[in-house]
């Protein structure tokens, strides 16, 4: 005799529809997870970059005075580097506002010192302001961390939204599978009844549905994860092709953690499907003697 025929008939059109829905949900969930993770990564790297960065503006100083101020700044405890910006660098900073032809030499511009300080040191801005004022320099200190905080908060919200989307998609997938299992159970009530009356235990009958939906979840999850991988790869390619000028935007990457997310997607889908099937079948069987 050849291999035993499964007690549940091979999948029908209803299961194909479920396969499509679970696959699509897994695709969205994987993509949302990758986005959440890259948003988190971007927020971390970007804020780490600007943490401890300051710009000191010296409106009344000439180049020599500015160099003297730079030395005072650099000598301050907690400062790692202080660099006087060149005229070309200042022109480049102002280019978005005043165009590429530069500013007339007659126009007075403040001297700017770019400062990199230890982010762990508190009150760096006020300390520099006080020291420069004591040395007789009119100055204004701009701590990048002040507005980096706003960006950080915004990114945290974006991350929360992405995680909520992942949770919603996952719970939707579980609900859809539970619904589909219930429908499958009703459609195959004849099989369930015969097995039940032949003395099959509840967990034996549930096991048939569990195996079926575990495989369905696994396969649909794998397809969804592969599509998410394709979409992520396309986005990475598009970002690289555009010259990667989107410095503030989260950029998708594919590192080990991303691969783990993609590998975990079908496993989670399979387990969720299995669990949903088990709970649905056991609950349904308990309604009969």
């Amino acid at each position: 005799m050849a291999r035993e025929t499964p007690l549940l008939p091979v999948e029908d059109a209803r299961e194909m529809a479920l396969f499509f829905v679970v696959g699509a949900l897994c695709f969205l969930a994987a993509l949302a997870t990758l986005s959440a993770k890259s948003t988190y990564g971007a927020a971390r790297s970007w804020t780490a970059e600007v943490e401890g960065e300051l710009t000191v503006s010296l409106p009344d100083a000439d180049r020599r005075g500015a160099e003297e101020a730079r030395q005072i700044i650099e000598a301050t405890e907690g400062v790692r580097e202080a660099r006087l910006l060149s005229k070309a660098e200042i022109d480049a900073l102002l280019e978005p506002n005043f165009g590429s032809r530069g500013l007339p030499d007659s126009l007075p511009l403040p001297q700017l010192v770019a400062v990199r300080a230890d982010p762990e040191v508190d009150f760096m801005g006020p300390t520099l302001e006080r020291r420069l004022t004591e040395a007789g320099f009119a100055n204004a200190v701009d701590e990048h961390a002040d507005w980096a905080g706003d960006v950080r908060r915004m990114l945290a919200i974006a991350r929360l939204v992405a995680l909520t989307a992942v949770a919603l998609l996952a719970s939707t997938a579980v609900a859809v599978i539970a619904f589909a299992t219930h429908a499958a159970l009703l459609a195959r009530r004849d099989i369930v009844d015969v097995l039940h009356l032949a003395g099959a235990r509840d967990r034996y009958i549930a096991g048939l549905f569990e195996r079926r939906f575990w495989l369905l979840g696994l396969r649909a999850g794998a397809v969804g994860a592969l599509l998410a991988l394709g979409a992520a790869a396309a986005m990475i390619f598009a970002a690289h092709s555009s010259g990667a000028r989107s410095g503030l935007l989260p950029v998708l990457s594919l590192d080990l953690l991303d691969v783990m997310i993609l590998v975990a997607t079908p496993l989670i889908a399979g387990l969720a499907a299995r669990l949903a099937a088990r709970v649905t079948v056991i609950r349904s069987l308990k309604s009969v003697m």
Binding site: M1, E4, T5, L7, P9, V10, D190, I191, D193, V194, L195, H196, L197, A198, G199, A200, R201, D202, Y204, K286, V288, M289
Partner: protein, 249 residues
């Protein structure tokens, strides 16, 4: 509680104490039924259509809970058993359903082997028995056919083979000869009698076929208006009684 074949030797195979059954809010289908079947007994259940024969059988093969009263199998009150214990009891009961309940995606062979698969038996261990049983019911050549391609009579024989393949302690059959010719009907009755005599299987057959009832010296229980009329006479007395039942119907 572990249930074993030794329970067969309990004093009573089936016991119904003041059992009533009602579906939803309707009238009682069965009312205050008392019934005792000894292990190894052979009984008929008759009654007009809608008298509640199938409902009574459902109580016996543990598909339904009584609305009131207690159903006990092998001395075990079923209301006190866990789900696993009920499953274990069901494995000792073979059922021939009126509507056969064969699984269309399985072959005749696989349908018959189904209870053995549920028991966790390996195919190699039961293949010969199942093939022999199918040959005995005249389906040796059709064992790989699926139910939709079988005639009503063939399906009925598959259903009967499935019910007896585990050599159950109780065999419950609902109109088991309804779709077979008289010759096959007699043959199936001989199978039931053989199981009853050789293995001590308790057999309960619900039937309209009084001709079938007359073939066997066995008590006849008749359902009428939800009540069970017990008749424990044998032989010619049983034949006389079925004539009376026939006249009454």
């Amino acid at each position: 509680m572990t249930l074993s074949r030794h329970d067969l030797f309990d004093d009573v195979a089936v016991r119904l104490d003041s059992v009533s059954l009602r579906y939803d809010t309707s009238e009682d289908i069965l009312s205050g039924i008392d019934l005792v079947l000894k292990p190894g007994s052979f009984s008929f259940l008759t009654g007009a259509s809608g008298a509640g024969k199938t409902s009574l059988l459902k109580l016996l093969y543990l598909a339904l809970k009584p609305t009131r009263g207690e159903v006990s199998l092998f001395g075990r009150p079923t209301s006190r058993l866990t789900r696993d214990q009920l499953s274990a009891l069901r494995r000792r009961v073979g059922v021939v359903f009126q509507e056969f309940r064969l699984l269309d995606h399985l072959t005749a062979y696989e349908n018959v082997a189904l209870p053995l698969r549920v028991l966790g038996r390996k195919e190699a261990s039961y293949r010969h028995d199942v093939e022999e049983l199918l040959a005995w019911v005249g389906l040796g050549e059709r064992m790989h056919a699926r139910p939709p391609t079988l005639s009503g009579g063939e399906q009925q024989r598959v259903a009967i083979a499935r019910a007896v393949v585990t050599q159950p302690d109780i065999l419950i059959a609902d109109e088991p000869t309804g779709n077979v010719d008289p010759e096959m009907g007699s043959r199936l009755m001989r199978l039931f009698l053989e199981l009853n005599k050789r293995r001590g299987t308790t057999v309960i057959i619900a039937t309209h076929d009084l001709g079938l009832v007359r073939q066997v010296e066995a008590p006849v229980f008749r359902l009428q208006h939800g009540l069970l009329v017990q008749d424990v006479e044998y032989g010619p007395a049983a034949r006389r009684r079925t004539d009376i039942v026939k006249a009454a119907e």
